[in-house]
């Protein structure tokens, strides 16, 4: 007999769920709870044990607790039942429970129960906070109403007289703990519908607060007692029903009580609810956007009403006495502090002074005090006053700049501005990204929240001592002169994400241009904001996709960014954007790559001539010129690619004809070790040798050796490395003595270079030919030979400078010494002026590292000095 009741319950539930899936079960939660009520009433009536107890005069009541008590029965919510006795629990209770619950368990319906007397129930409530909250939501199902009534009356009386402060304290602590556990950003990607920020618990807690301290019984009472405005109540209703519906679908899909909306399930849930794809957005993106906005509302209303409900009321007895509403004035007339919250001193002031709509947020941020619920309502009501002339008003722009700089972690004024509609009023373009979701595991926040978080992260860089890992950023932050530019860029960097497009940076930059222009910014400021937004992904991309140990990467960045100030801002924007995106975008790994790139680019901008505006211009001009001159022989795209891969240093210092000469050689190089071309300079006794060869250690010293071997004196020389393992060199040498057989001489030299490349010892015989002494003209005071090895000038190379007097074989002596010491010459600039020479070499170890080991440095220095000839001043001939 009893089994039948359970069977009926199961049948009815099945039908109800089916209606839910067809979207025809608006009151699902309530109906679902009623089905259980019907079951318990039915069983209670039929149970012989219940009859026996009634006969024996033992009163018993069935009480629904928790969610069941609130009639919020989702598809797989569990049932929480209290079997209540008056003074003692009879032996028959066991059998009674069996009658009640076994049939349910047989159908695998999760049912929790407790058997308690009134006294036990009360005692346990004061001891265990979770039992207390279930009892707040208690609801009578059937049995003896009197004992239920007695329990609840005593419960409420003891609560307000003895346990109120303690219970409120527990409730606040519980809320804080829940928010700290579920406030983690992973819960944004996969929201927890019940316990997460803005989850149902936020609403439950609110009701608990309200029930503890006021006469609120049901949700509607929140409106009735004036806690919520009519509109807010309607939004609350719609938010709750959306979340409940989502929860129902989630339960249905997982087949169990599951409250975390896992990433993999979101598409399916969205589909069940009926979200469809439209104009480039997936249904799931619209769904998640809506869910976030509903949960955000619950979160906000929880924070707001909690403050409101919990306003100090020391004792309920004094309730009749009117609350003291002492208000303190603030810096701004028309805005006051009442009960630690900001309010307008009078509502009529707002339409007369619309600027107050922003000033109240400025004060809120400055004093770190929230707006009262009334103030929020007023702001919301009057947000229509924010029109175009309001937006262009300088004092309003100034106020907004302040608000931007006051937006901090845990107290973000911008969020409240967004919630009240003023932010969208001020920047209408912002509306397009509100609650815009990108469905992937990377972006945890809707675009609007992400933007606001970015601003908040930037402001976090202000504090220097708070967080050690931020100390580096605060140093960089200090160096930024115009902080409002960075803050605006942070707020608007994703403004182009409204429409699905691969180029949100470009699009956003143009939208932002309109916004900051409207705010009356100077053109240089506008250009900075536009630049930052357009390039906000540039550093992150470069850091992970280019070789950071290559000088060219840093020069490339420096060239694009152009100024130290812009680099600082772009770097902090990149960091803030990544941190605000979520843990997938920001970790120590990306952090160290980015910092490395930043420091190297900074160094290039500060110390190098390679990325100055003038240098960039001149390089661009040269490239265009070459492409234009060579458009017949070369494919334009290919030539451009080759030129782009050449080092900035080379392009800057080598004249166009030489570059074209090198390109021609490179084209014909094939498998050969090197190619050279000798040109006679007009009206000059100098031969110019352009060389293109395989970049192997020692190549440069072998070139110098072969010229020395053939007594071709080197007047000047430059050496460069091209990224693709090619060396590009230029030598200016004096022609051979024998002009008649000059060509033969060059052919001989070419052969000898080939030999030297194949046989590493081929040029060793030259050592004997290096002079032992340099004789200086009489009367000269010799400046001693000097070698300077520097690791500060360049981030990428060790720079060796050699000061000495010219002698035959000088370049070979130095470069061969370097080669034998395992030093690789990357760039060389050699010029002889009169007799004193300064040769400069940019070198790395063969491992491609800087040479910074002190003993190694010393070793190289000594080796060069030892191989240089001694200086001797010629004695004046006796007259």
């Amino acid at each position: 007999m009893v089994q039948d009741e359970a069977g009926i319950l199961i049948q009815k539930r099945k039908k109800l769920v089916k209606r839910l899936l067809d979207n025809r079960a608006p009151g699902f939660l309530n109906t679902s709870a009623e089905l259980f009520d019907d079951y318990f009433c039915g069983v209670f009536k039929k149970s012989s044990t219940a009859l026996k107890m009634t006969d024996a005069g033992i009163p018993v009541a069935l009480v629904a607790l928790g969610g069941y008590g609130r009639r919020e029965q989702c598809v797989h919510s569990d049932i929480d039942l209290l079997v209540l006795f008056e003074n003692s629990i009879p032996e028959m209770a066991d059998q009674f429970i069996r009658d009640l619950l076994y049939p349910l368990w047989d159908y695998r319906l999760e049912t929790g129960y407790a058997v308690r007397t009134i006294k036990e129930s009360l005692l346990m409530s004061w001891k265990h906070f979770d039992i207390l909250t279930t009892l707040i939501d208690a609801r009578f199902i059937c049995g003896d109403f009197n004992i239920y009534f007695l329990l609840m009356k005593t419960f409420m009386k003891q609560l307000s007289e003895k346990h109120l402060q303690n219970s409120l304290g527990c409730l606040i602590a519980y809320g804080e703990k829940r928010h700290s556990v579920f406030g983690d950003s992973t819960y944004l990607l996969e929201p927890n519908l019940k316990s997460g920020l803005g989850g149902l618990r936020d609403y439950h807690s609110l009701m608990w607060y309200a029930r503890m301290v006021s006469d609120v019984k049901i949700r509607k009472d929140l409106e009735y007692y004036g806690f919520l405005s009519c509109e807010e109540f309607q939004t609350l209703e719609s938010s709750l029903s959306f979340i409940w519906n989502t929860r129902n679908m989630l339960h249905y899909i997982t087949g169990r009580k599951c409250d975390q909306l896992h990433f993999e399930l979101q598409i399916e849930v969205a589909k069940l609810i009926g979200f469809k794809a439209e104009t480039g957005h997936q249904g799931v993106e619209t769904f998640m956007g809506e869910l976030h906005s509903k949960m955000e509302f619950l979160k906000q209303i929880n924070q707001l009403l909690r403050e409101y409900i919990l306003q100090p009321r020391p004792n309920k007895i004094k309730k009749a006495k009117k609350r003291t509403t002492l208000s303190k004035s603030t810096k701004v007339s028309g805005i006051v502090i009442r009960r630690q919250m900001l309010e307008f001193s009078s509502m009529e002031l707002v339409p007369r002074h619309p600027g107050l709509l922003l000033k109240i947020f400025v004060e809120s941020g400055r004093l770190k005090k929230p707006l009262s619920i009334d103030a929020r309502r007023i702001v919301n009501e009057f947000s229509y006053l924010v029109n175009d002339s309001f937006r262009r008003d300088t004092s309003n722009v100034k106020a907004f700049e302040k608000i931007l700089s006051y937006s901090l972690w845990k107290f973000n004024v911008l969020n409240v501005m967004l919630a009240t509609g003023v932010l969208e009023g001020l920047i209408p373009e912002f509306s397009s990204i509100v609650n815009k979701i990108q469905y992937n595991q990377y972006h945890l926040f809707p675009v609007d929240k992400h933007s606001i978080r970015s601003v908040q992260v930037v402001n976090g860089f202000k504090k220097k001592d708070s967080d050690k890992k931020f100390s580096f950023y605060s140093i960089v932050y200090k160096g930024i002169r115009n902080k409002k530019v960075l803050l605006f860029a942070a707020l608007l960097h994703d403004i182009g994400k409204a429409e699905p497009s691969s180029e949100h940076s470009e699009k956003g930059a143009e939208i932002a241009r309109t916004i900051v222009a409207r705010a009356g910014y100077k053109s240089s400021e506008i250009e900075d904001v536009v630049f930052l937004i357009k390039n906000h992904l540039f550093l992150a991309k470069t850091a992970t996709r280019r070789d950071l140990s290559d000088e060219e990467t840093a020069v490339f960045c420096a060239d694009r960014i152009g100024r130290v100030g812009r680099l600082r801002m772009l770097y902090l924007l990149t960091v803030a954007d990544s941190i605000a995106t979520g843990p997938k975008a920001w970790n120590q790994w990306t952090e160290s790559l980015l910092r490395d790139l930043f420091l190297k680019t900074m160094n290039v901008l500060k110390n190098s001539e390679l990325a100055t505006r003038k240098a960039s211009k001149s390089i661009k001009k040269k490239k265009d010129q070459i492409i234009n001159l060579r458009k017949k022989e070369w494919d334009k795209v290919k030539l451009k690619k080759e030129l782009d891969s050449m080092s900035h240093r080379y392009l800057l210092y080598v004249p166009v004809p030489e570059i074209m000469g090198h390109l021609a050689l490179y084209k014909n190089l094939g498998e050969k070790a090197f190619l050279w071309k000798i040109t006679k300079e007009d009206n000059s006794e100098i031969r110019r040798v352009s060389i293109c060869g395989r970049d192997k250690p020692g190549f440069y010293s072998k070139l110098a050796g072969v010229f020395f071997l053939n007594r071709l004196d080197i007047v000047g020389s430059q050496a460069y490395s091209w990224g693709n393992n090619t060396a590009l060199d230029i030598f200016n040498v004096t022609p051979p003595m024998d002009r008649i057989f000059e060509n033969e001489k060059w052919e001989k030299a070419e052969k000898e270079l080939q030999n030297a490349i194949e046989d590493d010892q081929f040029l060793e015989r030259l050592h004997g030919k290096i002079p032992k002494k340099i004789l200086l003209a009489p009367g000269q005071i010799p400046r001693p030979n000097r070698v300077k090895i520097d690791n500060e000038i360049s981030r990428f190379f060790t720079v060796i400078e050699v000061f000495t007097y010219d002698f035959p074989g000088l370049l070979f002596t130095i470069t061969n010494t370097l080669y034998r010491k395992g030093v690789d010459v990357r760039v060389a600039m050699v010029a002889t002026k009169v007799d004193q020479v300064v040769d400069v070499f940019y070198v790395n170890s063969v491992d491609d590292e800087k040479i910074d080991n002190p003993s190694y440095v010393e070793d190289i220095k000594n080796a060069i000095l030892q191989n240089l000839p001694e200086l001797e001043v010629k004695k004046e001939e006796s007259k």
């Binding site: 990306t590 910092r595 491992d847 491609d848």
Partner: protein, 112 residues
């Protein structure tokens, strides 16, 4: 079966992935790691303060293949990840005892 673990420079990942795809290797596990070998860390100075970069960011690729293909995979990674400079990384080859596909319970080289 062999497991190939390669530690490479981050910016080489796309190239390596592409090259492996070309020889028919489509599955791999990627981890962002930090470490150092012969290429020691370095110091950076900014506004007078020193920042020591002691661990260098790298990418670790893990691939399990039939033992006959291991050499080919190693060669491909080697060729692609090479910049000729220090810090290009290392490749390790380890024996693998068993592989199981979780969904079906299949075992052995078929699941690769």
């Amino acid at each position: 079966m062999k497991k190939i673990e390669a530690v490479i420079k981050p910016f080489k990942l796309d190239d390596v992935k592409e090259a492996l795809n070309e020889i028919g290797i489509v599955g791999m596990t990627i981890t962002e790691v930090k470490g150092y070998g012969r290429q020691k860390g370095h110091k950076e100075i900014y506004r007078g303060a020193e920042y020591v970069v002691d661990f260098v960011p790298k990418i670790k690729i893990e691939i399990v293949v039939d033992k006959d293909r291991a050499d080919e995979v190693v060669e491909t990674i080697c060729k692609t990840a090479n910049t000729g400079k220090i810090g290009d990384g290392k490749i390790f080859v380890l024996p693998v005892e068993q592989a199981v596909r979780v969904r079906t319970g299949e075992k052995g080289t078929d699941v690769l």
